[in-house]
């Protein structure tokens, strides 16, 4: 058997949209871009509207609150090691430009109990971001979204 560990290293360019978004997190702000033509709000932000194929027209600040769209409890790590305490995460539907199918949304940890995931009571619940004291301009500036 041949073992080979590739030396693959990258420094990803965040680009204009994500850079502003990450700086916003440092200021405890969730920022999205908006398309004036179709009124769609993008979180995560994009510099262009995928619907209209034109540049987005500006930035809006969203509330750091939303509704849990889905939630899961993971008992395995990314290397598939068993975890004693599950990691709970899911997607959060933010208030902004809800349409029939799409909405500004974030993927993050959710601070809740395994029971509430199992009985689905957390899905549809209102949650708010818990911000870290020390913020560096990363998605990790938010500790989790917690039920209010």
């Amino acid at each position: 058997m041949i073992r080979y560990v590739p030396k693959a290293k990258y420094s990803y360019s965040a680009g204009q949209a994500q850079s502003v978004f990450l700086n916003g997190l440092k200021e405890k702000k969730i920022l999205g871009t908006v398309c004036n033509k179709c009124k769609k709000v993008y979180v995560p932000p994009k510099m262009y509207c995928e619907e209209c194929f034109k540049p987005t027209d500006g930035w809006v600040e969203l509330k750091d609150e939303g509704i849990v769209h889905t939630a899961i409890a993971s008992f395995v790590s990314w290397t598939r090691d068993r975890l004693e305490e599950p990691i709970i995460s899911g997607t959060i539907k933010l208030y902004g430009s809800e349409r029939d199918y799409v909405f500004p949304g974030m993927f993050h940890r959710i601070c809740t109990t395994y029971d509430k995931v199992r009985d689905m009571s957390i899905i549809g619940a209102k949650v708010k971001a818990v911000w870290n004291e020390k913020r560096v301009g990363s998605i990790e500036d938010i500790q989790c979204f917690k039920e209010v």
Partner: protein, 361 residues
Amino acid sequence: MKVAIVGMGWYGFRPSTPEVSFREMVFEAASRAYAEANLDPRKDVDTFISSQEDFWEGISIADEFAPDQIGGYLRPTFTVTGDGVQGILHGIMHIKSGISKVTAVEAHSKASDILTIGDIVEFAMDPIFLRPAAPPNFHFLAALEAKAYQRRTGMTEEDMAEIVSIEKRNGFGNPRASYAANLNVSDILSHEKVAEPLRRPDIADFVDGAVVVVLASEDIARSLTDDPIWVEASTFTETNYPGYAELGEAGYLRGAYSQISKRKFDGYFVDDRYSFKLLEHLGVFKADPLALLREGQLGEGGSAPTNVFGGLLSEGVPLEAAGLTLALEAREYLRKGYSSAVVGSWRGVPTYTGMVLSMWR
């Protein structure tokens, strides 16, 4: 039924582009291509093709990030893992099979995001036969070919330096030629060897950039423009293993050329990421390219005008966008009033895969 290029756009072509993500770069290139074609991707384009490889992006399944920036969201979009000319080939097939009437093809490079590009190239080599034997830099595979080509044709290191000198000067005036320079043969020969017989200036640098091409069926092309550029494309893979390839013969490009209709070309735009490859690749289309070089026939007005805007030695290697970069040159050439041009593209070390794009009006 014929297929035409009705729009092309590009963005970047600088050694680094920290101000944009690769998706933003592609959006800029796509906006320019659609503006030129006078088409709206959300209303007029049927299928979308991205040409990329996971390890160039540093993302497993980079196809996930393909659709939005070319207008391909919720539309038939997918990835051809290869050079942009292979993307064009798939686009032509979409149109000729009746699936599509208008197809957009993109290729891009964010080479400056890759901190260990040599290791990534090595990762493309056969893990059992080639990687354990690989010397410290991947150029050794090109060097093997250069030696074979020298043996076969008598090409000297001075000839190679002459190519570099011509190409780097040809780049002046080309807005994409970040690496254009005024170098003479003795400047070039003063450099140490990287891998016998290649010196640093013989090897093109990597570059960031994005190119988008819009293809259309004959009826749509004629409705959009009085002067469409018709295209035909082909690809050929010889092997991925040097032991199976005829080194220095560009069998991959000959294979690709055998797949398309023969016509007379006014200009040649060939992959020259290594100086000698200009001759090796030109040799697929024209007999005795070395003599043409020595007789000074490779410039505009010569009998085989080749890479007259500087080629990849001047513009850099934008990974899988290399073929489309040459296509941009070819189109520029046609715009000067010539009636045909051909692109001879290559996927680079360690592949033996070549593509031909024939363009005429």
